[in-house]
């Protein structure tokens, strides 16, 4: 396997009122023909990494190569090899779908005849043929994202960068877009995807790097990341918070990490689910604790993030709940409700 994207100790500091170290020594490598996920909350440096790799931004330190070409020294060449679709759907409002694709084709210096056929082809592939000659003002959010992705594909790039491609989309549109991306990858394109949706990274990416405050805090396949954490999560619901705390103490020794007590819910990751479940039930019985719910489940990437950073995959801006997945939102609310009710520490590994 050849390496399509190689990132070597990238650093980028934004100077302003508050100095922001957006990239703090980031390194990773992406195999050709695979999907690589950059996972992290808002402000973790994902977009900055993409902007450096797509030649939009110069790094302060370190280097990056796309298909062996340095993104600073051979920027022009890199630009002709890549496609970029961003979270803000950078398409022109005043043009029609077709005009947008044709403009991007021409700016890619492709022959007019090729551009015209390619536009027809892409509109068809992305279910936009009917809307192709309507101005973008009439498009829905999902249609815009599809057109944005189509625009990134006009020049048939071998490496595709998708910066939070589904942020802000409704579940149906998100699913549609996931299918499109999966089909692209099936055809051999290398994709670097950034996301704050754990579900998305889990579904699309074969290899992941988890970013936090400009640093890669974990790298590997989503399976290996989950394996490091423990194979299974044991989730026990209890009638009272007091019971939950006692249960936390009882279950602490079960897995590689301590038990997480979150209100009336206790989570512990374990290597062998059924065996641990039996031990857990016996110990709880011995203590006279009766759980209300008892579940074994696959660990999610959310669990991975929490165990790696000690904090959840929350954005730093509290008002951006819309960007969180439903699961994150539920967790966040649960946590907030609890913190109101209970001044003692919750939500962190005790």
């Amino acid at each position: 396997m050849t390496i399509a994207i190689e990132v070597d100790n990238l650093e980028k500091v934004f100077k302003g009122k508050r100095e922001v170290r957006a990239l703090d020594g980031v390194s990773f490598a992406v195999q050709e023909g695979t999907v690589f996920g950059l996972l992290g909350p808002n402000g973790s440096g994902k977009t900055t990494a993409v902007r450096v790799l797509t030649t939009i931004l110069r790094p302060d330190l370190g280097s990056a190569r796309v298909l062996g070409n340095d993104v600073v020294k051979k920027a022009a060449l890199v630009r002709s090899l890549i496609g970029l679709a961003g979270q803000y759907a950078a398409v022109d409002e005043n043009l029609t779908g077709r005009e947008n694709l044709q403009m991007v084709g021409k700016l890619n210096h492709l022959p007019n005849s090729f551009v015209a056929t390619r536009a027809v082809e892409l509109l068809d592939q992305f279910n936009l043929t009917e809307a192709g000659d309507r101005p973008l003002k009439t498009y829905s959010g999902g249609m815009r994202r599809r057109l944005d992705l189509a625009a990134a594909l006009v020049a048939r790039p071998t490496v595709l960068f998708l910066d939070e491609p589904t942020t802000g989309l409704d579940p149906q549109s998100r699913n549609d877009l996931w299918e499109v991306i999966e089909q692209l990858v099936g055809g051999g394109t290398t994709v670097l995807l950034t996301t704050q949706y754990l579900e998305e990274a889990d579904r699309l990416a074969s290899t992941l790097a988890v970013l936090d405050h400009g640093k890669v805090i974990a790298e590997g396949t989503s399976e290996s990341l989950k394996a490091d954490l423990g194979a299974t999560v044991l989730e026990v619901g209890l009638p009272t918070i007091d019971d939950a705390r006692r249960t936390g103490t009882v279950l602490d020794g079960l897995g590689p990490h301590v038990a997480l007590v979150n209100g009336t819910l206790v989570e512990v990751t374990v290597d062998n689910g059924p065996q641990a479940a039996m031990v857990a039930l016996r110990s709880l019985d011995a203590e006279g604790i009766v759980p209300t719910t008892f579940n074994l489940r696959e660990p999610s990437l959310d669990d991975v993030f929490l165990s790696l950073t000690g904090h959840r995959t929350e954005s730093e801006e509290p008002d951006e709940d819309d960007n969180l997945s439903p699961r994150q939102q539920r967790r966040k609310k649960r946590l907030a409700d609890l913190e109101k009710a209970l001044p003692v520490q919750t939500g962190e590994y005790a």
């Binding site: 002709s80 803000y88 022109d92 005009e99 048939r156 089909q183 055809g187």
Partner: protein
Amino acid sequence: MTTAVVAPTVSGAPHSAGLASKARWLVSDTLTLTKRNLLAVTRIPEALFFSTVQPIMFVLLFRYVFGGAINTGPVPYVDYLLPGIFVQTVAFGSVSTSIGLAEDLQKGIIERFRALPMSRGAVLLGRTTADLVRNVFVVIIMTVVGLLVGFRPTEGLASFLAGIGLILLFAYALSWFFAIVGLSAPNSETAQVMSFPLVFPLTFISAAFVPVGSMPSWMQGFATYQPFSVTISACRSLMVGPASTGTGRSTTFWVVQSLAWTIGLLIVFIPMAIRRYRTRT
């Protein structure tokens, strides 16, 4: 989504680095973006319509309301007024360069351009060129309006067209200044409010509407020789004769001054705008 997505296999753009091919792509990319910017104008015809309504109102206001009270000596006021209106109109038109660029930055389309293998200079050139074409259109409308309210150029067609050309060149130079404003503004609304305080005093403390001689003496020097006035006087001389400026200067004097300002503005602001574009992240 049911249709299969064919995977990309070959990469597009062939790239040669020769100077001639670079120049060719710069022209081609500039034309592509000029067309894109002009298409946007035709898609929102209201914007173009209302941008001509204001200068037309100025013509009517000064021609019929204030004009009677303004003494322009031997020249009819309407002939004095129109060259001033032309310059005012194209100067306000140049502000759209700042608004357009700020909007493109805000909407993220410039991010896409930066990641494309296109000529670096084409974004700014395409924007200023489109605004120049837009100004040509607006000047034609204002000429028609002028003729309707009694404006009668006396120096012949060639001289009239030379005046129009001078104004358009000057407006093009201003566009580069407003490009810097647009690239520095956080959004298009701010770009607009940042631009007007710069245009407004230069338009009104000038020879555009009233003879400078009627202003307080401390203001006259600035009002006569600032770039807007110089261009207005050049245009006035070319369209209705040098006597109309009331300055005793020749047509050549004003034309040379105006061209000097235009070239000076271009030399200073083009590199500044390009640098601002490069460093703006």
